[in-house]
Symmetry: C2
Subunit: 292 residues, 2 copies
Protein backbone atom coordinates (compact mmCIF):
# COMPACT_ATOMS: atom_id res chain seq x y z
CA UNK A 1 0.00 0.00 0.00
CA UNK A 2 1.26 3.47 -0.90
CA UNK A 3 2.48 4.98 2.36
CA UNK A 4 2.24 8.77 2.09
CA UNK A 5 -0.03 11.26 3.84
CA UNK A 6 -1.04 13.04 0.66
CA UNK A 7 -0.82 12.47 -3.09
CA UNK A 8 -1.15 15.33 -5.55
CA UNK A 9 -2.48 14.36 -8.97
CA UNK A 10 -1.75 17.08 -11.50
CA UNK A 11 -4.32 16.73 -14.27
CA UNK A 12 -7.63 15.13 -13.36
CA UNK A 13 -8.65 13.75 -16.74
CA UNK A 14 -9.03 10.12 -17.78
CA UNK A 15 -5.75 8.91 -16.25
CA UNK A 16 -5.46 11.26 -13.27
CA UNK A 17 -9.11 10.70 -12.39
CA UNK A 18 -8.74 6.93 -12.69
CA UNK A 19 -5.66 6.98 -10.42
CA UNK A 20 -7.66 8.84 -7.76
CA UNK A 21 -10.64 6.46 -8.01
CA UNK A 22 -8.35 3.42 -7.95
CA UNK A 23 -6.36 4.67 -4.92
CA UNK A 24 -9.60 5.14 -3.02
CA UNK A 25 -10.96 1.76 -4.16
CA UNK A 26 -7.71 0.12 -3.00
CA UNK A 27 -8.18 1.49 0.49
CA UNK A 28 -5.54 4.24 0.40
CA UNK A 29 -6.11 6.35 3.55
CA UNK A 30 -4.14 9.47 2.67
CA UNK A 31 -5.51 12.62 1.11
CA UNK A 32 -5.82 12.91 -2.68
CA UNK A 33 -5.47 16.42 -4.05
CA UNK A 34 -6.35 17.22 -7.65
CA UNK A 35 -4.40 20.00 -9.33
CA UNK A 36 -5.25 21.70 -12.59
CA UNK A 37 -5.37 24.98 -14.42
CA UNK A 38 -9.04 24.97 -15.32
CA UNK A 39 -11.78 25.06 -12.70
CA UNK A 40 -14.33 22.96 -14.55
CA UNK A 41 -12.49 19.60 -14.81
CA UNK A 42 -11.33 20.04 -11.20
CA UNK A 43 -14.90 20.54 -10.05
CA UNK A 44 -16.03 17.51 -12.07
CA UNK A 45 -13.23 15.35 -10.60
CA UNK A 46 -14.29 16.46 -7.11
CA UNK A 47 -17.94 15.73 -7.85
CA UNK A 48 -17.10 12.28 -9.27
CA UNK A 49 -15.08 11.35 -6.18
CA UNK A 50 -11.74 11.15 -8.00
CA UNK A 51 -10.07 13.49 -5.46
CA UNK A 52 -10.68 14.82 -1.92
CA UNK A 53 -9.61 18.39 -2.58
CA UNK A 54 -8.67 20.54 -5.55
CA UNK A 55 -6.36 23.47 -6.12
CA UNK A 56 -4.97 25.44 -9.04
CA UNK A 57 -1.68 25.92 -7.18
CA UNK A 58 0.75 23.08 -7.85
CA UNK A 59 3.25 24.53 -5.38
CA UNK A 60 0.76 24.47 -2.54
CA UNK A 61 -0.20 20.89 -3.39
CA UNK A 62 3.45 19.82 -3.53
CA UNK A 63 4.32 21.33 -0.15
CA UNK A 64 1.79 19.11 1.60
CA UNK A 65 2.39 15.96 -0.47
CA UNK A 66 4.70 12.96 -0.31
CA UNK A 67 4.10 12.16 -3.98
CA UNK A 68 3.22 14.26 -7.00
CA UNK A 69 1.90 12.47 -10.10
CA UNK A 70 2.04 14.47 -13.33
CA UNK A 71 -0.96 13.28 -15.38
CA UNK A 72 -1.17 16.14 -17.88
CA UNK A 73 -0.07 16.10 -21.55
CA UNK A 74 3.68 15.75 -22.23
CA UNK A 75 4.11 19.37 -23.29
CA UNK A 76 3.15 20.64 -19.84
CA UNK A 77 5.84 18.71 -17.96
CA UNK A 78 8.65 21.21 -18.42
CA UNK A 79 6.74 24.10 -16.83
CA UNK A 80 5.39 21.86 -14.08
CA UNK A 81 8.82 20.51 -13.18
CA UNK A 82 10.19 24.08 -13.07
CA UNK A 83 7.30 25.04 -10.78
CA UNK A 84 7.86 22.02 -8.55
CA UNK A 85 11.56 22.92 -8.27
CA UNK A 86 10.55 26.00 -6.28
CA UNK A 87 8.52 23.97 -3.78
CA UNK A 88 10.78 21.01 -3.18
CA UNK A 89 11.06 19.42 0.26
CA UNK A 90 12.95 16.33 1.44
CA UNK A 91 9.87 14.09 1.57
CA UNK A 92 8.65 14.87 -1.94
CA UNK A 93 8.79 12.23 -4.68
CA UNK A 94 7.66 12.90 -8.22
CA UNK A 95 6.51 10.73 -11.11
CA UNK A 96 4.57 11.23 -14.33
CA UNK A 97 2.36 9.16 -16.63
CA UNK A 98 3.75 10.35 -19.98
CA UNK A 99 3.74 8.11 -23.05
CA UNK A 100 7.40 8.82 -23.79
CA UNK A 101 10.09 8.76 -21.14
CA UNK A 102 13.42 10.04 -22.45
CA UNK A 103 12.37 13.66 -22.66
CA UNK A 104 10.64 13.96 -19.28
CA UNK A 105 13.45 12.11 -17.50
CA UNK A 106 16.01 14.48 -19.05
CA UNK A 107 13.89 17.49 -18.07
CA UNK A 108 13.54 16.26 -14.49
CA UNK A 109 17.32 15.77 -14.33
CA UNK A 110 17.88 19.30 -15.55
CA UNK A 111 15.13 21.16 -13.70
CA UNK A 112 14.63 19.52 -10.31
CA UNK A 113 16.98 20.39 -7.41
CA UNK A 114 16.85 16.73 -6.35
CA UNK A 115 16.30 14.71 -9.50
CA UNK A 116 17.11 11.54 -7.56
CA UNK A 117 13.58 11.81 -6.14
CA UNK A 118 12.00 11.67 -9.63
CA UNK A 119 11.21 8.35 -11.34
CA UNK A 120 9.26 8.27 -14.63
CA UNK A 121 6.27 5.97 -15.12
CA UNK A 122 4.11 4.90 -18.01
CA UNK A 123 0.92 3.14 -16.94
CA UNK A 124 -0.16 1.44 -20.18
CA UNK A 125 -3.86 2.14 -20.05
CA UNK A 126 -6.00 4.56 -21.91
CA UNK A 127 -9.09 5.15 -23.91
CA UNK A 128 -10.03 7.31 -26.84
CA UNK A 129 -12.35 9.06 -24.37
CA UNK A 130 -11.15 12.03 -22.36
CA UNK A 131 -11.85 13.84 -19.11
CA UNK A 132 -12.76 12.81 -15.56
CA UNK A 133 -16.14 11.50 -16.80
CA UNK A 134 -14.26 8.69 -18.57
CA UNK A 135 -12.24 7.80 -15.44
CA UNK A 136 -12.77 4.31 -14.01
CA UNK A 137 -11.34 2.69 -10.88
CA UNK A 138 -10.45 -0.44 -12.88
CA UNK A 139 -8.84 1.31 -15.87
CA UNK A 140 -5.33 0.49 -14.66
CA UNK A 141 -5.83 -2.83 -12.88
CA UNK A 142 -3.76 -5.68 -14.28
CA UNK A 143 -2.32 -3.53 -17.08
CA UNK A 144 1.43 -3.15 -17.65
CA UNK A 145 3.13 -0.16 -16.04
CA UNK A 146 6.67 0.69 -17.10
CA UNK A 147 8.83 2.40 -14.46
CA UNK A 148 12.03 4.00 -15.74
CA UNK A 149 14.52 4.79 -12.97
CA UNK A 150 17.73 6.47 -14.11
CA UNK A 151 21.26 5.72 -12.85
CA UNK A 152 20.88 8.48 -10.24
CA UNK A 153 17.44 7.52 -8.92
CA UNK A 154 17.21 7.06 -5.15
CA UNK A 155 16.13 3.59 -4.04
CA UNK A 156 13.41 5.19 -1.88
CA UNK A 157 12.06 7.08 -4.93
CA UNK A 158 11.79 3.82 -6.88
CA UNK A 159 10.04 2.19 -3.90
CA UNK A 160 7.48 5.01 -3.50
CA UNK A 161 6.67 5.18 -7.20
CA UNK A 162 6.45 1.40 -7.52
CA UNK A 163 4.17 1.23 -4.50
CA UNK A 164 1.74 3.69 -6.14
CA UNK A 165 1.28 1.40 -9.15
CA UNK A 166 1.35 -1.76 -7.09
CA UNK A 167 -1.44 -0.34 -4.91
CA UNK A 168 -3.43 0.12 -8.10
CA UNK A 169 -2.86 -3.53 -9.10
CA UNK A 170 -0.67 -2.83 -12.13
CA UNK A 171 1.92 -5.24 -13.54
CA UNK A 172 5.29 -3.47 -13.10
CA UNK A 173 8.15 -3.64 -15.58
CA UNK A 174 11.37 -1.66 -15.14
CA UNK A 175 13.52 -0.50 -18.05
CA UNK A 176 15.56 2.51 -18.99
CA UNK A 177 13.83 5.44 -20.73
CA UNK A 178 15.37 4.79 -24.16
CA UNK A 179 14.38 1.12 -24.11
CA UNK A 180 10.86 2.13 -23.08
CA UNK A 181 10.57 4.59 -25.93
CA UNK A 182 11.69 2.00 -28.50
CA UNK A 183 9.26 -0.63 -27.25
CA UNK A 184 6.30 1.66 -26.85
CA UNK A 185 6.85 2.91 -30.40
CA UNK A 186 6.13 -0.64 -31.56
CA UNK A 187 3.01 -1.39 -29.50
CA UNK A 188 1.39 2.01 -29.05
CA UNK A 189 2.71 4.75 -31.33
CA UNK A 190 2.86 2.53 -34.43
CA UNK A 191 -0.71 1.21 -33.93
CA UNK A 192 -1.84 4.83 -33.59
CA UNK A 193 -0.12 5.86 -36.84
CA UNK A 194 -1.61 2.77 -38.49
CA UNK A 195 -5.14 3.54 -37.27
CA UNK A 196 -4.99 7.12 -38.54
CA UNK A 197 -3.56 5.98 -41.88
CA UNK A 198 -6.21 3.24 -42.18
CA UNK A 199 -8.96 5.84 -41.79
CA UNK A 200 -7.36 8.18 -44.33
CA UNK A 201 -6.84 5.31 -46.81
CA UNK A 202 -10.39 3.94 -46.36
CA UNK A 203 -11.81 7.42 -46.91
CA UNK A 204 -9.81 7.80 -50.15
CA UNK A 205 -10.80 4.33 -51.32
CA UNK A 206 -14.47 5.08 -50.60
CA UNK A 207 -15.37 2.19 -48.35
CA UNK A 208 -16.46 3.71 -45.08
CA UNK A 209 -20.20 3.42 -45.73
CA UNK A 210 -19.94 -0.37 -45.41
CA UNK A 211 -17.37 -0.47 -42.59
CA UNK A 212 -18.33 -2.44 -39.50
CA UNK A 213 -17.05 -3.70 -36.13
CA UNK A 214 -13.65 -4.89 -37.37
CA UNK A 215 -12.90 -1.50 -38.89
CA UNK A 216 -14.15 0.14 -35.69
CA UNK A 217 -11.77 -1.85 -33.49
CA UNK A 218 -8.83 -1.48 -35.85
CA UNK A 219 -9.21 2.31 -35.91
CA UNK A 220 -10.48 3.05 -32.39
CA UNK A 221 -7.28 4.71 -31.19
CA UNK A 222 -7.45 7.19 -34.09
CA UNK A 223 -10.22 8.93 -32.11
CA UNK A 224 -7.68 9.96 -29.47
CA UNK A 225 -6.82 13.63 -28.84
CA UNK A 226 -4.66 14.90 -31.77
CA UNK A 227 -2.70 17.41 -29.67
CA UNK A 228 -1.82 14.80 -27.03
CA UNK A 229 -0.70 12.40 -29.75
CA UNK A 230 1.24 15.02 -31.70
CA UNK A 231 3.32 15.49 -28.51
CA UNK A 232 3.89 11.77 -28.26
CA UNK A 233 5.12 11.50 -31.84
CA UNK A 234 7.29 14.63 -31.57
CA UNK A 235 9.08 13.24 -28.50
CA UNK A 236 9.80 9.82 -30.04
CA UNK A 237 10.64 10.56 -33.65
CA UNK A 238 13.42 8.10 -34.38
CA UNK A 239 11.80 5.08 -32.77
CA UNK A 240 8.46 5.83 -34.44
CA UNK A 241 10.07 6.16 -37.87
CA UNK A 242 11.91 2.86 -37.36
CA UNK A 243 8.71 1.11 -36.24
CA UNK A 244 6.78 2.39 -39.28
CA UNK A 245 9.62 1.20 -41.52
CA UNK A 246 9.43 -2.27 -40.03
CA UNK A 247 5.64 -2.28 -40.39
CA UNK A 248 5.85 -1.27 -44.05
CA UNK A 249 8.28 -4.17 -44.60
CA UNK A 250 5.75 -6.61 -43.12
CA UNK A 251 2.90 -5.09 -45.14
CA UNK A 252 4.91 -5.24 -48.34
CA UNK A 253 5.69 -8.89 -47.79
CA UNK A 254 1.98 -9.56 -47.25
CA UNK A 255 1.08 -7.54 -50.34
CA UNK A 256 3.54 -9.42 -52.55
CA UNK A 257 2.25 -12.80 -51.37
CA UNK A 258 -1.35 -11.73 -52.13
CA UNK A 259 -0.52 -10.16 -55.50
CA UNK A 260 1.44 -13.26 -56.57
CA UNK A 261 -1.42 -15.55 -55.51
CA UNK A 262 0.85 -17.40 -53.07
CA UNK A 263 -1.83 -18.82 -50.79
CA UNK A 264 0.73 -20.82 -48.79
CA UNK A 265 2.67 -17.67 -47.91
CA UNK A 266 -0.48 -15.69 -47.10
CA UNK A 267 -1.72 -18.51 -44.89
CA UNK A 268 1.64 -18.70 -43.14
CA UNK A 269 1.66 -14.95 -42.35
CA UNK A 270 -1.95 -15.09 -41.12
CA UNK A 271 -1.21 -18.11 -38.96
CA UNK A 272 1.93 -16.60 -37.40
CA UNK A 273 0.10 -13.34 -36.72
CA UNK A 274 -2.80 -15.16 -35.11
CA UNK A 275 -0.54 -17.36 -32.97
CA UNK A 276 1.42 -14.38 -31.63
CA UNK A 277 -1.71 -12.30 -31.04
CA UNK A 278 -3.59 -15.14 -29.33
CA UNK A 279 -0.65 -15.86 -27.02
CA UNK A 280 -0.31 -12.17 -26.13
CA UNK A 281 -4.06 -11.77 -25.55
CA UNK A 282 -4.21 -14.85 -23.34
CA UNK A 283 -1.57 -13.40 -21.01
CA UNK A 284 -2.96 -9.88 -21.13
CA UNK A 285 -6.56 -10.84 -20.44
CA UNK A 286 -5.54 -13.24 -17.67
CA UNK A 287 -3.73 -10.35 -16.00
CA UNK A 288 -6.44 -7.71 -16.45
CA UNK A 289 -9.39 -10.01 -15.71
CA UNK A 290 -12.82 -10.15 -17.26
CA UNK A 291 -13.77 -6.50 -16.65
CA UNK A 292 -11.73 -5.17 -19.59
CA UNK B 1 -40.72 -10.11 -42.55
CA UNK B 2 -39.12 -12.90 -44.55
CA UNK B 3 -41.98 -14.82 -46.13
CA UNK B 4 -40.85 -18.41 -46.77
CA UNK B 5 -41.91 -21.68 -45.15
CA UNK B 6 -38.39 -22.86 -44.52
CA UNK B 7 -34.88 -21.41 -44.57
CA UNK B 8 -31.83 -23.63 -44.87
CA UNK B 9 -28.66 -22.24 -43.31
CA UNK B 10 -25.62 -24.06 -44.61
CA UNK B 11 -22.90 -23.68 -41.99
CA UNK B 12 -24.01 -23.11 -38.41
CA UNK B 13 -20.99 -21.25 -37.08
CA UNK B 14 -20.80 -17.68 -35.85
CA UNK B 15 -22.68 -16.14 -38.77
CA UNK B 16 -25.06 -18.98 -39.64
CA UNK B 17 -25.89 -19.46 -35.97
CA UNK B 18 -26.47 -15.75 -35.46
CA UNK B 19 -28.79 -15.63 -38.49
CA UNK B 20 -30.87 -18.45 -37.00
CA UNK B 21 -31.04 -16.81 -33.56
CA UNK B 22 -31.89 -13.43 -35.08
CA UNK B 23 -34.63 -14.85 -37.34
CA UNK B 24 -36.24 -16.46 -34.33
CA UNK B 25 -35.84 -13.31 -32.22
CA UNK B 26 -37.44 -11.28 -35.02
CA UNK B 27 -40.54 -13.48 -34.91
CA UNK B 28 -39.93 -15.48 -38.11
CA UNK B 29 -42.49 -18.31 -38.09
CA UNK B 30 -41.03 -20.63 -40.71
CA UNK B 31 -38.73 -23.57 -40.08
CA UNK B 32 -34.98 -23.04 -39.80
CA UNK B 33 -32.85 -25.98 -40.92
CA UNK B 34 -29.14 -26.11 -40.20
CA UNK B 35 -26.97 -27.92 -42.72
CA UNK B 36 -23.37 -28.99 -42.25
CA UNK B 37 -20.86 -31.71 -42.84
CA UNK B 38 -19.83 -32.32 -39.26
CA UNK B 39 -22.27 -33.62 -36.65
CA UNK B 40 -20.82 -31.77 -33.66
CA UNK B 41 -21.40 -28.14 -34.66
CA UNK B 42 -24.86 -29.11 -35.95
CA UNK B 43 -25.72 -30.63 -32.58
CA UNK B 44 -24.40 -27.55 -30.77
CA UNK B 45 -26.42 -25.22 -33.03
CA UNK B 46 -29.52 -27.30 -32.31
CA UNK B 47 -28.83 -27.27 -28.57
CA UNK B 48 -28.27 -23.50 -28.57
CA UNK B 49 -31.54 -22.85 -30.37
CA UNK B 50 -29.95 -21.50 -33.56
CA UNK B 51 -31.96 -23.92 -35.74
CA UNK B 52 -35.07 -26.11 -35.50
CA UNK B 53 -33.68 -29.11 -37.36
CA UNK B 54 -30.34 -30.26 -38.72
CA UNK B 55 -29.22 -32.39 -41.63
CA UNK B 56 -26.00 -33.27 -43.39
CA UNK B 57 -27.83 -33.42 -46.73
CA UNK B 58 -27.90 -30.04 -48.44
CA UNK B 59 -30.09 -31.40 -51.25
CA UNK B 60 -32.75 -32.57 -48.82
CA UNK B 61 -32.71 -29.20 -47.07
CA UNK B 62 -32.94 -27.33 -50.38
CA UNK B 63 -35.92 -29.35 -51.60
CA UNK B 64 -38.04 -28.18 -48.67
CA UNK B 65 -36.76 -24.59 -48.52
CA UNK B 66 -37.67 -21.28 -50.09
CA UNK B 67 -34.27 -19.81 -49.28
CA UNK B 68 -30.82 -21.29 -48.86
CA UNK B 69 -28.17 -19.19 -47.13
CA UNK B 70 -24.58 -20.32 -47.67
CA UNK B 71 -22.73 -19.41 -44.47
CA UNK B 72 -19.65 -21.58 -44.87
CA UNK B 73 -16.13 -20.46 -45.89
CA UNK B 74 -15.68 -19.13 -49.44
CA UNK B 75 -13.85 -22.21 -50.65
CA UNK B 76 -16.88 -24.42 -50.07
CA UNK B 77 -19.26 -22.42 -52.27
CA UNK B 78 -18.37 -24.06 -55.58
CA UNK B 79 -19.18 -27.58 -54.40
CA UNK B 80 -22.30 -26.40 -52.59
CA UNK B 81 -23.62 -24.56 -55.65
CA UNK B 82 -22.97 -27.65 -57.79
CA UNK B 83 -24.87 -29.75 -55.23
CA UNK B 84 -27.76 -27.25 -55.12
CA UNK B 85 -27.95 -27.36 -58.93
CA UNK B 86 -29.16 -30.95 -58.66
CA UNK B 87 -31.98 -30.05 -56.24
CA UNK B 88 -33.30 -26.87 -57.77
CA UNK B 89 -37.02 -26.08 -57.74
CA UNK B 90 -38.95 -23.00 -58.90
CA UNK B 91 -39.46 -21.61 -55.40
CA UNK B 92 -35.82 -21.83 -54.34
CA UNK B 93 -33.76 -18.67 -53.86
CA UNK B 94 -30.11 -18.73 -52.85
CA UNK B 95 -27.76 -16.27 -51.21
CA UNK B 96 -24.44 -16.44 -49.39
CA UNK B 97 -22.58 -14.45 -46.73
CA UNK B 98 -19.11 -14.52 -48.31
CA UNK B 99 -16.63 -11.69 -47.73
CA UNK B 100 -15.89 -11.36 -51.45
CA UNK B 101 -18.58 -11.31 -54.10
CA UNK B 102 -17.15 -11.48 -57.62
CA UNK B 103 -16.10 -15.11 -57.42
CA UNK B 104 -19.25 -16.54 -55.85
CA UNK B 105 -21.51 -14.55 -58.19
CA UNK B 106 -19.56 -15.87 -61.19
CA UNK B 107 -19.76 -19.42 -59.83
CA UNK B 108 -23.51 -19.14 -59.25
CA UNK B 109 -23.92 -17.88 -62.82
CA UNK B 110 -21.96 -20.83 -64.16
CA UNK B 111 -23.23 -23.63 -61.92
CA UNK B 112 -26.88 -22.98 -61.11
CA UNK B 113 -29.58 -23.92 -63.63
CA UNK B 114 -31.44 -20.73 -62.68
CA UNK B 115 -28.80 -18.21 -61.64
CA UNK B 116 -31.46 -15.47 -61.73
CA UNK B 117 -32.64 -16.85 -58.39
CA UNK B 118 -29.21 -16.28 -56.77
CA UNK B 119 -28.26 -12.91 -55.21
CA UNK B 120 -25.02 -12.53 -53.27
CA UNK B 121 -24.92 -10.90 -49.84
CA UNK B 122 -22.27 -9.72 -47.44
CA UNK B 123 -23.58 -9.02 -43.95
CA UNK B 124 -20.76 -6.91 -42.45
CA UNK B 125 -20.59 -8.44 -39.01
CA UNK B 126 -18.15 -10.79 -37.48
CA UNK B 127 -15.94 -11.59 -34.58
CA UNK B 128 -12.55 -13.19 -34.11
CA UNK B 129 -14.49 -15.94 -32.30
CA UNK B 130 -15.83 -18.94 -34.16
CA UNK B 131 -18.55 -21.55 -33.94
CA UNK B 132 -22.19 -21.59 -32.84
CA UNK B 133 -21.14 -20.81 -29.23
CA UNK B 134 -20.12 -17.32 -30.42
CA UNK B 135 -23.45 -16.73 -32.21
CA UNK B 136 -25.62 -13.89 -30.90
CA UNK B 137 -29.09 -12.75 -31.96
CA UNK B 138 -27.89 -9.12 -32.10
CA UNK B 139 -24.65 -9.74 -34.03
CA UNK B 140 -26.15 -8.44 -37.27
CA UNK B 141 -28.62 -5.82 -36.05
CA UNK B 142 -27.98 -2.33 -37.41
CA UNK B 143 -24.83 -3.40 -39.25
CA UNK B 144 -24.34 -2.78 -42.97
CA UNK B 145 -25.28 -5.59 -45.36
CA UNK B 146 -24.20 -5.37 -48.97
CA UNK B 147 -26.46 -7.10 -51.49
CA UNK B 148 -24.99 -7.60 -54.96
CA UNK B 149 -27.61 -8.43 -57.60
CA UNK B 150 -26.25 -9.05 -61.09
CA UNK B 151 -27.79 -7.82 -64.35
CA UNK B 152 -29.66 -11.12 -64.66
CA UNK B 153 -31.05 -11.28 -61.12
CA UNK B 154 -34.82 -11.77 -60.86
CA UNK B 155 -36.62 -8.98 -59.01
CA UNK B 156 -38.25 -11.59 -56.77
CA UNK B 157 -34.83 -12.98 -55.83
CA UNK B 158 -33.65 -9.52 -54.80
CA UNK B 159 -36.84 -9.06 -52.78
CA UNK B 160 -36.50 -12.39 -50.93
CA UNK B 161 -32.82 -11.88 -50.14
CA UNK B 162 -33.35 -8.28 -49.04
CA UNK B 163 -36.24 -9.32 -46.83
CA UNK B 164 -33.99 -11.82 -45.02
CA UNK B 165 -31.55 -9.08 -43.98
CA UNK B 166 -34.29 -6.54 -43.34
CA UNK B 167 -35.97 -9.01 -41.00
CA UNK B 168 -32.68 -9.15 -39.12
CA UNK B 169 -32.56 -5.34 -38.82
CA UNK B 170 -29.56 -4.83 -41.09
CA UNK B 171 -28.83 -1.63 -43.04
CA UNK B 172 -28.98 -2.63 -46.72
CA UNK B 173 -26.70 -1.27 -49.43
CA UNK B 174 -26.82 -2.52 -53.03
CA UNK B 175 -23.84 -2.46 -55.37
CA UNK B 176 -22.31 -4.66 -58.02
CA UNK B 177 -19.89 -7.42 -57.00
CA UNK B 178 -16.75 -5.67 -58.31
CA UNK B 179 -17.59 -2.44 -56.49
CA UNK B 180 -18.24 -4.42 -53.31
CA UNK B 181 -14.89 -6.16 -53.54
CA UNK B 182 -13.02 -2.86 -54.02
CA UNK B 183 -14.73 -1.22 -51.06
CA UNK B 184 -14.48 -4.13 -48.71
CA UNK B 185 -10.76 -4.39 -49.49
CA UNK B 186 -10.41 -0.93 -47.95
CA UNK B 187 -12.45 -1.38 -44.77
CA UNK B 188 -12.07 -5.07 -43.98
CA UNK B 189 -9.29 -6.83 -45.86
CA UNK B 190 -6.77 -4.00 -45.46
CA UNK B 191 -7.41 -3.67 -41.69
CA UNK B 192 -6.89 -7.42 -41.42
CA UNK B 193 -3.57 -7.28 -43.29
CA UNK B 194 -2.59 -4.31 -41.11
CA UNK B 195 -3.47 -6.11 -37.86
CA UNK B 196 -1.44 -9.18 -38.81
CA UNK B 197 1.50 -7.02 -39.92
CA UNK B 198 1.29 -4.95 -36.69
CA UNK B 199 1.61 -8.11 -34.62
CA UNK B 200 4.54 -9.39 -36.69
CA UNK B 201 6.29 -5.99 -36.49
CA UNK B 202 5.68 -5.60 -32.73
CA UNK B 203 7.05 -9.08 -32.14
CA UNK B 204 10.21 -8.26 -34.13
CA UNK B 205 10.62 -4.94 -32.35
CA UNK B 206 10.24 -6.63 -28.97
CA UNK B 207 7.43 -4.61 -27.44
CA UNK B 208 4.62 -7.05 -26.77
CA UNK B 209 5.36 -7.46 -23.07
CA UNK B 210 4.17 -3.90 -22.44
CA UNK B 211 1.30 -3.87 -24.95
CA UNK B 212 -2.12 -2.93 -23.61
CA UNK B 213 -5.73 -2.22 -24.62
CA UNK B 214 -4.93 -0.04 -27.64
CA UNK B 215 -2.72 -2.74 -29.14
CA UNK B 216 -5.41 -5.31 -28.34
CA UNK B 217 -8.09 -3.38 -30.22
CA UNK B 218 -5.83 -2.54 -33.14
CA UNK B 219 -4.91 -6.20 -33.64
CA UNK B 220 -8.10 -7.99 -32.61
CA UNK B 221 -9.03 -9.10 -36.13
CA UNK B 222 -5.63 -10.82 -36.48
CA UNK B 223 -7.06 -13.55 -34.22
CA UNK B 224 -9.51 -14.55 -36.97
CA UNK B 225 -9.32 -17.97 -38.65
CA UNK B 226 -6.27 -18.03 -41.01
CA UNK B 227 -7.83 -20.43 -43.51
CA UNK B 228 -11.02 -18.38 -43.82
CA UNK B 229 -8.96 -15.23 -44.33
CA UNK B 230 -6.55 -16.82 -46.78
CA UNK B 231 -9.62 -17.54 -48.95
CA UNK B 232 -10.74 -13.93 -48.67
CA UNK B 233 -7.36 -12.58 -49.75
CA UNK B 234 -7.00 -15.11 -52.58
CA UNK B 235 -10.38 -14.10 -54.04
CA UNK B 236 -9.68 -10.35 -53.93
CA UNK B 237 -6.01 -10.05 -54.87
CA UNK B 238 -5.99 -6.92 -57.02
CA UNK B 239 -8.17 -4.78 -54.77
CA UNK B 240 -6.25 -5.85 -51.66
CA UNK B 241 -2.89 -5.02 -53.27
CA UNK B 242 -4.21 -1.60 -54.31
CA UNK B 243 -5.57 -0.91 -50.81
CA UNK B 244 -2.26 -1.88 -49.18
CA UNK B 245 -0.45 0.40 -51.64
CA UNK B 246 -2.69 3.32 -50.68
CA UNK B 247 -2.19 2.55 -46.99
CA UNK B 248 1.60 2.47 -47.38
CA UNK B 249 1.39 5.89 -49.06
CA UNK B 250 -0.51 7.30 -46.07
CA UNK B 251 1.90 5.67 -43.61
CA UNK B 252 4.91 7.00 -45.50
CA UNK B 253 3.51 10.51 -45.41
CA UNK B 254 2.99 10.19 -41.67
CA UNK B 255 6.49 8.76 -41.22
CA UNK B 256 8.12 11.61 -43.15
CA UNK B 257 6.27 14.24 -41.13
CA UNK B 258 7.37 12.61 -37.86
CA UNK B 259 10.98 12.07 -38.99
CA UNK B 260 11.24 15.69 -40.16
CA UNK B 261 9.81 16.96 -36.87
CA UNK B 262 6.93 18.67 -38.70
CA UNK B 263 4.50 18.90 -35.77
CA UNK B 264 2.00 20.93 -37.85
CA UNK B 265 1.78 18.15 -40.47
CA UNK B 266 1.56 15.40 -37.87
CA UNK B 267 -1.19 17.27 -36.04
CA UNK B 268 -3.07 17.82 -39.29
CA UNK B 269 -2.98 14.09 -40.18
CA UNK B 270 -4.06 13.13 -36.65
CA UNK B 271 -6.88 15.65 -36.71
CA UNK B 272 -8.18 14.58 -40.13
CA UNK B 273 -8.03 10.92 -39.11
CA UNK B 274 -9.90 11.62 -35.88
CA UNK B 275 -12.56 13.72 -37.59
CA UNK B 276 -13.28 11.03 -40.21
CA UNK B 277 -13.22 8.24 -37.65
CA UNK B 278 -15.48 10.09 -35.19
CA UNK B 279 -18.01 10.90 -37.92
CA UNK B 280 -18.05 7.29 -39.11
CA UNK B 281 -18.36 5.94 -35.55
CA UNK B 282 -21.22 8.29 -34.73
CA UNK B 283 -23.27 6.99 -37.66
CA UNK B 284 -22.29 3.37 -37.11
CA UNK B 285 -23.04 3.31 -33.39
CA UNK B 286 -26.31 5.16 -33.88
CA UNK B 287 -27.35 2.46 -36.34
CA UNK B 288 -26.20 -0.53 -34.28
CA UNK B 289 -27.33 0.80 -30.91
CA UNK B 290 -25.70 0.49 -27.52
CA UNK B 291 -25.46 -3.30 -27.44
CA UNK B 292 -22.43 -3.48 -29.74
Amino acid sequence: MLDVQQVAIVGTGLLGGSIGLALRAAGFRGRIVGVGRRREPLARAMELGCVDAVTQDVGEAARGSGLVVLATPLRSFKALLAELAGHDHPGLYVTDVGSTKQQVCAEAQRLLPHPERFVGSHPMAGSERQGPEAARPDLLRGKPCVVTPGPGSAAQAVRVVRSLWETLGMRLIEMDPAEHDRRVAAVSHLPHAAAVSLVLAADRLGGMEIASTGFGDSTRVASGDPSVWADVFMTNREAVAAAIDRFIQELSRFREAVAAGREDQVFDLLQRGKALRDRWWEGFSRSTGPSV
